[in-house]
């Protein structure tokens, strides 16, 4: 029975692989549900703060926040890249990084300086390897994105914008469309454009307590943070569903490989039996003649 032992070992090993991918698939499925809930939970805050920010951007006349002022000459660009911490999630990170890289190439061709903030291990590693100017990074966010962890890195970019080190700020992340579909997206964060905020619903102004500037400052920072938090939450939901799909196809592949190997194994076994019988028959014929 030449080779049949090897085939048996191979089948065993593929079966073990399948068990692992199956388990990972189920873990990703349950995490995905939670990630989606979290994504939805952050929506009311984002909607509310957008309404307020929209109103402020139109109603405010005595003080305009730097985030709302468009700069004529764009010399330097900031980019926040949101990626996952772990791999084994199909083309998720590759797609985001490719989109970022293409955009960065265009910027560099236009003579703009680029600084990068990386959220997630994969993007950080990649940006480091290609030699991008990484201004800040956060890795190891875990399964729940906490705004508290993001604040430091975001502030580095916002400070750079206010100080004039960068004139535009973009974010690149994977948009969650549905379980089967995720799309890498590039979005401009700063300066805030009017269309992004929508139009106001009246012509009145707020009473500012204690005064306009600190209130508007705080609100704008929070607005940007909520946008970034949303992007991170969406990216996490995308990551889990991409991983689920990738692991599902891995399990399916393992199944078909096992099927084929079993076929080969049975053929080899059959051939060995046939060979043995013909040898016995041949031997018996030789004795009786």
């Amino acid at each position: 029975m030449a080779g049949s032992k090897e085939i048996r070992t191979k089948i065993k090993s593929v079966e073990n692989t399948r068990k692992i991918t199956k388990a990972m698939e189920m873990v990703a499925a349950s995490k995905m549900r939670k990630a989606q809930d979290r994504m939805r939970a952050s929506r009311p805050y984002a909607d509310k703060i957008r309404n307020v920010a929209a109103h402020l951007s139109f109603a405010q006349s005595e003080y305009r926040h730097p985030f709302l002022i468009k700069r004529d000459v764009v010399k330097n660009v900031g980019l926040i890249v949101v990626s996952s911490d772990k791999g084994l999630c199909g083309g998720l990170n590759t797609n985001v990084l490719r989109l970022s890289l293409n955009q960065m190439k265009t910027w560099e061709a236009e003579g703009k300086g680029i600084s990068v903030s990386a959220i997630g291990n994969k993007g950080y590693g990649f940006m480091n390897r290609i030699g991008a100017q990484v201004k800040s990074h956060i890795t190891g966010l875990g399964d729940t994105p906490h705004l508290e962890k993001l604040i430091g890195s975001i502030k580095v970019m916002l400070d750079a914008y206010i100080a004039g080190e960068i004139d535009q700020l973009y974010i690149c992340y994977t948009k969650f469309i549905n379980t089967m579909k995720q799309e890498p997206t590039m979005q401009q964060l700063l300066p805030l454009s009017g269309e992004q905020l929508g139009s106001p619903t009246g012509h009145w102004d707020y009473i500012y307590e204690p005064e306009a500037k600190p209130v508007v400052d705080e609100l704008m920072t929070r607005y940007i943070e909520s946008l970034i938090y949303n992007a991170v939450a969406e990216n996490m939901a995308s990551e889990q569903s991409a991983r689920m799909v990738a692991m599902k196809s891995a399990s399916d592949n393992a199944k078909s490989v096992i099927g084929e190997l079993k076929l080969v194994y049975n053929k080899a076994r059959q051939a060995a039996i046939t060979k043995e019988i013909s040898e016995i028959v041949g031997g018996a014929a030789a004795v009786s003649s």
Binding site: A41, Y45, G131, S136, G152, K155, R222, S256
Partner: protein, 141 residues
């Protein structure tokens, strides 16, 4: 029916409270403010503290602790944008400095220019791998 105002308390990570209220007391940046329905439009910062919501004269007050945020008041609606993290100018600054230092540390011993060719090759390789796997899968089935 008593005169009430709708109040939403939301944070970036979850929705905390939503309902009608007769009277709301919030720890605003300049001191506590009490808000009755039909208050003039106002926007202010909130200090860490307790938010007191009186839903009706019979019920007990609802107490919500918030670690800061923003308060927006409109005649028919109050929105509290609560912070999830404990914030402060110094705390934020410290976090930003820590983030910056970590990045600068990582930037040392590194060439300054972006090697687009190598990066693109790396990504192209990953894409090619995925495509090859997909093709392989098609031929198998």
């Amino acid at each position: 029916m008593a005169n009430t105002v709708h109040i939403d308390v939301v944070s970036a990570e979850e929705s905390i409270f939503s309902g009608e209220a007769e009277f709301v007391v919030a720890p605003a940046g300049g001191g506590e403010v009490g808000i009755y329905p039909n208050h003039a439009p106002m926007i202010t910062t909130i200090k860490p503290g307790a938010l007191r919501i009186k839903q009706s004269s019979e019920q007990e007050e609802t107490l919500i602790f918030i670690s800061g945020g923003m308060l927006e008041v409109q005649p028919g609606m109050i929105t509290v944008l609560a912070d999830t993290a404990i914030r402060g100018q110094d705390l934020d600054e410290a976090k930003a400095i820590a983030a910056k230092e970590a990045a600068e540390e990582a930037l040392k011993n590194r060439s300054a220019d972006i090697d687009y060719a190598a990066a693109q090759a790396e990504l192209a390789e990953a894409v090619a791998q995925i495509q090859a796997i997909q093709k392989l899968r098609k031929t198998i089935h």
